[in-house]
């Protein structure tokens, strides 16, 4: 029987994951900081509460599928998988090194538990569509397909091709999550290529849309659970997150989209994350 974690426990796990993200990136000397930190709560909710999976048997035939579409957020997936028991945490330090299973962008064939290879943007949702269609052909629709996508990634036309297809075939065992952190490499999303009205766009494409606080684990779990009850449409969760969440000097700053912390910055970030962890305990006491 899978352990049921309290919200406080999940919040603490999310901060453990954030610490590992900082350590991994500092050690690697390259990689993306803002997105992974912002996604830590969503990943914790998925891997420690919602997903039906077995870290000791990653190919379990009845598992839910999880796809990371914006592969540059791999550090949060690796850190979460290590915490969930897919592999030893000490391997996290091999991120981006020669021979590592933790490639700079995730490769399915490198690491058991990964369901796709991603990095080039805009492909996760349509792979989810293919998987959902296959599940329907196999009469396996009780399995679920979760996809995390970036918001900048929505510039890609491929996403909207998938959006139409999911609506056409009513692929209602797909729950997609947009990490709405409002930044991409070149700046704020609304400057680079405006996405709003994002909710109206997805609704116009035939999706059931939920707008949530993506850094509130309870809200994330509630939305993910609710999505499984909605059968008339595929579900898009627009999860509003703070890029760089938990590290004050990274938060909201698009310059941290594709940069790692140096040694000094990592030290400062870890100090701050540890302080925040104390605050979580305080809040729940």
């Amino acid at each position: 029987m899978k352990k049921k974690y309290s919200i406080q426990e999940l919040e603490e796990i999310a901060f453990d994951i954030r610490e590992d993200i900082i350590k991994m990136l500092e050690h690697a000397g390259s990689g993306h900081s803002a997105g992974p930190l912002g996604l830590a709560d969503i990943f914790t909710a998925l891997y420690f509460d919602v997903l039906k999976h077995d870290p000791k048997n990653p190919d379990w035939e009845q598992r839910d599928i999880f796809l990371l579409s914006n592969g540059h957020c791999a550090p949060v997936q690796y850190a979460t998988m290590a915490h969930a028991g897919f592999f030893a945490k000490k391997e996290l330090k091999t991120l981006r090194q020669l021979g590592s299973r933790l490639q700079g962008h995730p490769e399915r064939t490198a690491l058991p538990g990964l369901e796709n290879t991603s990095g080039p943007l805009g492909c996760g949702l349509s792979q989810a569509c293919g998987m959902s269609l296959a599940m329907r052909m196999n009469q396996d629709m009780h399995r679920w397909v979760y996809v995390v996508m970036g918001d900048g990634e929505l510039n890609e036309g491929n996403i909207w091709e998938a959006a139409m297809l999911a609506n056409k075939y009513n692929l209602n065992n797909i729950t997609a999550i947009i990490d709405r952190n409002n930044i991409q490499i070149d700046g704020p999303t609304e400057d680079v290529m405006p996405l709003e009205d994002l909710k109206a766009k997805w609704e116009a494409f035939g999706w059931f849309v939920l707008d949530i606080d993506g850094n509130n684990i309870e809200a994330v779990i509630d939305a993910l659970n609710m999505s499984r009850a909605i059968v008339e449409k595929p579900v898009m969760i627009i999860a509003h997150t703070v890029p760089g969440k938990g590290v004050d000097f990274m938060e909201y700053d698009f310059h941290w989209h594709g940069a790692p912390p140096n040694k000094e910055q990592a030290k400062e970030a870890l100090k701050e994350l540890r302080t925040l962890r104390g605050k979580i305990r305080g809040e729940h006491e």
């Binding site: 490769e107 399915r108 064939t109 369901e115 796709n116 290879t117 991603s118 990095g119 080039p120 805009g122 492909c123 349509s126 792979q127 989810a128 569509c129 293919g130 998987m131 959902s132 269609l133 296959a134 599940m135 052909m137 196999n138 036309g157 491929n158 091709e161 998938a162 139409m164 297809l165 075939y169």
Partner: protein, 322 residues
Amino acid sequence: MKQMYLHDIHEKLDQEPIRTGFGRGLLQAGKDDENVVAACADLTGSTQMAAFAEEFPNRFVQVGVAEQNLATVGSGLAAMGKIPFVSSYAAFSPGRNWEQIRTTICLNEQPVKVVGSHAGVSVGPDGATHQMLEDIALMRVLPHMVVIAPADSIEAEKATLALAKDKKNPGYIRLAREKTPVFTTEKTPFEIGKAYVLSPGKDLSIITTGTMTYHGLLAAEALYKDGIDAEVVHVPTIKPLDAATILTSVEKTGHVITAEEGQIAAGFGSAIAELLAEHHPVKMKRIGMRDRFGESGNPDDLLEHFGLTAKHISLAAHDLMA
């Protein structure tokens, strides 16, 4: 007198589009294995997927005019244990969705079979936009990808069935629009990764793929009358290349002409040139499109105009042997 492959029968050969053989093969593959599925980008009739879609409506996905989605939906289907054939015109798939094929199919090692119809200038009146000439280059450069250009409809049927049985590798099959002579039979061998000496000879190796193999056979007949004994090596599998068969032929003849209905740059002739440059350099000429696009016209006129016929192979042979 040497026995020629076509004897005097080429006037009497049936004519059928290569893509028709694919359609038959896909339908049969679907009957043989329930995991064989298909997806198409609004060209179900043209790419000959209609029979499959009618027979197995629940195993057919119509993605609309969306080739990027075609490739990535294919990747998702394969990830769940399906053997998806995804079809469009070659100009659009792999023309438009190459990166999706690279990342989500090849790097991701999913056995999606990409079906590119209407390859070559023989597409005819539709013009350069629709005459795909770069697909061999685009596909053969990808790790894990198997690349096949069948020579006629019967071989296309066999190649399709063979691809459907390969549950490991991604594949690309190159199809042509126009009717072309059916010169192989049910008994002609076909295996992925094998090249075949269709007509033996000692002076020159004419190494061909796809629609140009028939022209190669005609050229060999004409050349024999001119005193040049050419061997025709048909190479339906461009990747992986059957190096042994090709090298055996070339070591014997010492002269090579390649022919393909596509760009010679990075295409089939280049693949042969790469092999020979490393293992057995000889005098060679390549027949194909020389760094230019096609244009509208009648298919036969276009093949003549761009130098893609038996006559042009013969002329190149005389040049090479002179």
